[in-house]
């Protein structure tokens, strides 16, 4: 995960769970996985996920997940937040514990 991906994943986390939840330094693969799981579990959010071509078969690997979540963060940084508004409401309360644990290594 390069620094640009960290910045964008952090932006996605701070959009969904509030400013100050993460920083590029605190982002890790586990946190990216939580964002990906939260969005894919919330079915009405998953339509917004197909930005990067999805690998065929089975659970996607961590490099795919990192790219996907970073892409969402990049879109959010660019100001395109309206398509993620419903996702934010859906996952802000339901996945806060998981993102907190992932970011803090608990």
């Amino acid at each position: 995960m390069d620094y640009g991906e960290r910045e964008h994943i952090s932006a996605a986390i701070n959009y969904f769970w509030g400013d100050g939840t993460s920083s590029p330094h605190s982002v890790n693969e586990a946190a990216a996985e939580v964002v990906y799981e939260a969005i894919t579990e919330a079915q009405s959010c998953s339509a917004s996920m197909d930005i990067v071509p999805r690998p065929s078969g089975g659970k996607p690997g961590i490099s795919y997940i990192v790219k996907q979540v970073a892409s969402i963060g990049k879109s959010i940084v660019a100001g395109n937040t309206s398509i993620y508004q419903v996702c934010k409401v859906k996952i802000s309360a339901s996945y806060r514990s998981e993102i907190t644990m992932a970011l803090q290594g608990i």
């Binding site: 769970w17 586990a30 939580v34 409401v89 859906k90 309360a93 907190t100 608990i106």
Partner: protein, 165 residues
């Protein structure tokens, strides 16, 4: 040698007794009884003052988390957060709340889930559970809103945790 054996025996007995018992927790001025077999406690802090107990050796798995959402502003509630969640679970009817977000929250915490509500002292407790994840919202009449969630405990465990608020 005899003295050494006695000390070891006491330590093992104490350890076993602790593992099978509940532990009193005071969180946000309320008393809870959490299962005592946790392996990690994490004071994650943040604006919701999150406290996490983990009951496994694997990060992020088998957890019990406490969050104080009283002053949460992550989303636009349109009304105090405790009023908002009262309306999500049909415990009140306040027209000032953000109705669009109420419907989205109902989709998350009500639709297709086991939902039960009960009262303890001055608090309404709403349990929302599925096979994968359980939540309890503790809603006070004077503005308090706490959330408890777990990826492995069900309603009976939640009732025990909340039995003595």
């Amino acid at each position: 040698m005899l003295k050494f054996c006695f000390v070891v025996l006491v330590l093992v007995s104490s350890s076993s007794a602790f593992a099978s018992s509940a532990v009193d927790l005071v969180y946000s001025d309320l008393k809870f009884e959490v299962p005592g077999e946790f392996s990690v406690i994490g004071d994650a802090g943040g604006n919701q003052n999150i406290l996490i107990f983990r009951y496994s050796d694997q990060r992020g798995k088998r957890f019990l988390a406490f969050s104080d959402m009283t002053n949460d502003e992550t989303i636009d509630y349109g009304c105090p957060s405790y009023v908002f969640f009262s309306k999500v679970f049909d415990l009140s009817d306040n027209s000032s709340c953000n109705d669009d977000n109420i419907e989205i929250m109902r989709d998350t915490f009500v639709e297709g889930r086991d939902v039960e509500a009960w009262s303890i002292n001055d608090y309404e407790v709403v349990y929302s559970g599925s096979g994968k994840k359980s939540y309890a919202f503790i809603i006070g009449n004077y503005g308090k809103l706490l959330k408890i969630d777990s990826d492995f405990l069900g309603i009976e465990a939640f009732r025990s945790i909340l039995a003595d608020l």
